[in-house]
């Protein structure tokens, strides 16, 4: 249980916690059972076009591994010790029947592990429609943009094959609007955290955002509205904490206890890259004209920078992190990266150099989604927080 005030917020967070720890996905199951013919489409980090799934009348369901509660019995037999944990716990979810109600699975182009997992899924679960989502690494409209549009169209047809209904442009435009609304609320919540981190603890906001991976988007938008209203209704004590950005956990998720440990050690997390898909597009996606072209343009020109995405301009490499520090008025960066996560760990030295060049203090540690020992992390983050205060005092 989280340590939250007995208020409306507490009720909301309790609900989010239940959703978070339900590894049988009862809410999504209930959603599917409520109406015959409903379909659920699972997706893995870090980005898929949820708008098209929604336009197909299906529920996009985020599969983010098994966290620290899932006992991995079968999954380890599929992976060597030197591969991160999320694929093995995802296999566990599949083999144990926990996601047997999922009609289709999407595996985005993020790294070799998830790429290969798409093929494993085809072999292991032949009755589940499985698709890899290729994402462009060329950011010219008529090159990468055109390719991505064709990819989006293939996804549209693939989903139409699952639901038995073609997906119209109008339906996609309407879904873009629904997601635009959700993203506006998500941004509002993150901005509030930047402004009042004592009122919006990261561990709490994480749960609220994580709920968006299992709930229909309309319900999630309402949940954020309720949360924001309840938070604005209360004041929590301001602590003498340092403000930090947490970077590197864009795929395998840290255990909730890790987020809490960073906070308990004296840090306000004012920005992070957990669950990045919920704010992938930085502003509204256009609802004019060809909706697939609009989604493609948003991906190319208005989406977040993150290690799996190529930065064509060397001068801009990693600057997004410096920008995040500035925008969120942070005093340091904590790199929290999944063990054996190639994209994160290979990128880290470059990001560290850029932060160093801009005088931003930083620390780094690795985690696994089931890491249990938080004491070392708490100590490391605590020392970091103290030293930041010392530097800023000096």
């Amino acid at each position: 249980m989280l340590d939250v005030p007995a208020s409306a917020t507490a009720g909301i967070i309790r609900r989010c916690e239940d959703l978070f720890s339900d590894l049988h996905f009862s809410t999504a199951r209930a959603w599917k059972a409520a109406k015959p013919g409903r379909k659920v489409i699972g997706f893995m980090p870090y980005y898929v076009p949820r708008e098209i799934i929604h336009a197909a009348g299906a529920l996009p369901l985020g599969i983010l591994g098994g966290g620290d509660q899932l006992e991995v019995i079968h999954g380890d037999a599929y992976y060597q010790s030197y591969i991160c944990r999320i694929p093995r716990s995802t296999i566990e979810l599949g083999v144990s029947g926990r996601i047997d109600f999922v009609d289709g699975m999407l595996f985005p182009s993020i790294c070799d592990v998830i790429r290969n997992l798409s093929g494993m899924w085809m072999l292991m679960f032949p009755n589940t429609a499985t698709r890899y989502v290729d994402l462009p690494q060329n950011f010219e409209d008529d090159v990468g943009g055109e390719f991505y549009r064709s990819e989006l169209n293939e996804i549209r047809e693939w989903l139409g094959g699952i639901t038995g209904q073609p997906i119209t442009d109008d339906a996609i435009r309407a879904s873009i609007e629904v997601f635009n609304e959700n993203r506006r609320l998500v941004r509002e919540a993150y901005t509030l955290r930047t402004d009042e981190p004592w009122n919006v603890p990261a561990s709490e906001l994480y749960l609220v955002m994580r709920a968006g991976f299992v709930l229909p988007v309309e319900e999630h938008s309402q949940l954020i509205r309720d949360y924001l209203a309840s938070v604005r209704d209360q004041q929590r004590p301001i602590k003498d904490n340092s403000r930090v950005v947490v970077s590197g956990a864009f795929c395998e998720q840290p255990p909730l206890t890790l987020i809490k440990s960073i906070e308990l050690s004296g840090c306000y997390i004012v920005d992070d890259d957990f669950l990045l898909i919920n704010r992938w597009e930085r502003s509204d996606v256009s609802t004019d004209g060809d909706p697939l072209a609009a989604l493609s343009r948003a991906f190319l020109h208005d989406s977040h920078s993150t290690p799996p995405k190529y930065e064509p301009d060397q001068a801009k490499k990693g600057l997004y992190l410096v920008e995040a520090v500035r925008k969120h008025r942070a005093e340091g960066v904590i790199f929290a990266m999944a063990s054996f996560c190639d994209p994160a760990l290979l990128d880290r030295p470059m990001l560290q150099d850029i932060l160093k060049a801009h005088g931003v203090p930083q620390i780094a540690f690795k985690f696994a989604e089931n890491s249990g020992q938080m004491q070392p992390i708490r100590e490391q983050a605590g020392t970091f927080s103290d030293s930041i205060k010392l530097w800023s005092g000096a």
């Binding site: 290969n116 093929g119 690494q137």
Partner: protein, 436 residues
Amino acid sequence: MTIITRPASKPADIIKDASMSKQKDMMARHYERLSDAPANGEKVAATFVPGNLNELLMCFGFANNLPEVNAIQSGLRKQSGGYVMEAEKSGHSEDVCTYVKSDIGMMSKGNIGPNGRKLPDPDVLLLSYTGCFTFMKWFELLRQQYNCETIMFHTPYMADGKITKDMIKYMVKQLKQDVIPKLEKVSGVKFDIDLLRAHLRKSAIAEEDLVWVLQSAKTKPSPIDAYFGGIYYIGPIFGAFRGTDDAIDYYRFLRQEVEERIAEGKGPVTPDGDMGQERYRLVVEGPPNYTHFRQFWKMFYDEGAVVVASSYTKVGGTYDFGFRHDPVNPLESLAEYCLNVYTNRNLPMRVDMLENYIDEYQADGLLINSIKSCNSFSAGQLLMMREVEKRTGKPAAFIETDLVDPRYFSPANVKNRLESYFQMIEQKRAGLRGAA
């Protein structure tokens, strides 16, 4: 006639095929060319083995320096361990690919090539992005170091087992609008598509002979080892020689040697001479270990085990499925080549391929050498092993090593595993004989 030469300088050294000596010559000239490039005013490009657009780079006069090949050389020369540790000391994670760390460590130690001379800084990094996500980070790291033009050339993944028109269109557009103009700019040479066609014509000739050589392993006994020996055979085509007369000559020569070995009923040439009786025929999935290459190979040929087909010899192109570079459609052909590299094929395709190899090459089973460094190859291999075992009924085994990090090569463990595997094969045979 197969010529077995003992280089006069080192009497106890490996016994070499004549083709190996020729290749050694080619490589020596290549490294000299690279080292001399700055003095000779030659421009240098760096790129990757999978997706290596050697013919295109040659159109602009670039000398092609492949960091993966340098890492292999460092591994074979037992220098990579130090380089990897050097990179880790400077902040690179112990968890990530050791090819990258060997390269970075080598850079920090002066970038001395196998010829003992400094390798030149690249003028352009051609980030041919197929089959491995690490490539992107690797060249971002090099870009930071060298501050030079870096060209992303993105190959979509063959996730559905097919190549679509949209994929080809995307890649050809990248070539036309981005890759070629940037190569023109860096080299100062205007692109000549007819020159590219001429190079591709030569590539196809050499590719024909390479495939013949690799498929010669269908003969019993196999005249080649298609993994340990195969690594030498793929060298010129996967490296800086595809599209050259040198490569054509090398493969013609190699083919003649192999033809003679077949005629004489001989098995493969090993570092200790002709292999004795062929006892086990294996298909191998995964890259080899380079830091203990000879020791590793010896564990096979001492037991009469020969590798008749391997996936590693397809990382720079799956020519045995019929693909040849095509001078008639040059840019499309480059795209198709990149799409077809082994690690850009989805897992079901990889499983089918291994299954078919076991059948076509009459192998006794599948051995997986799982590489700690390499998620591209390794993620999913345990499932692949089970699938192939299930489909073929032939025993499979799994060993774990690393490409160029000596800390992950445990000779005793590997040897034990191999010995038990060979016993499994024997038991299987005895079982079959008993059942017959």
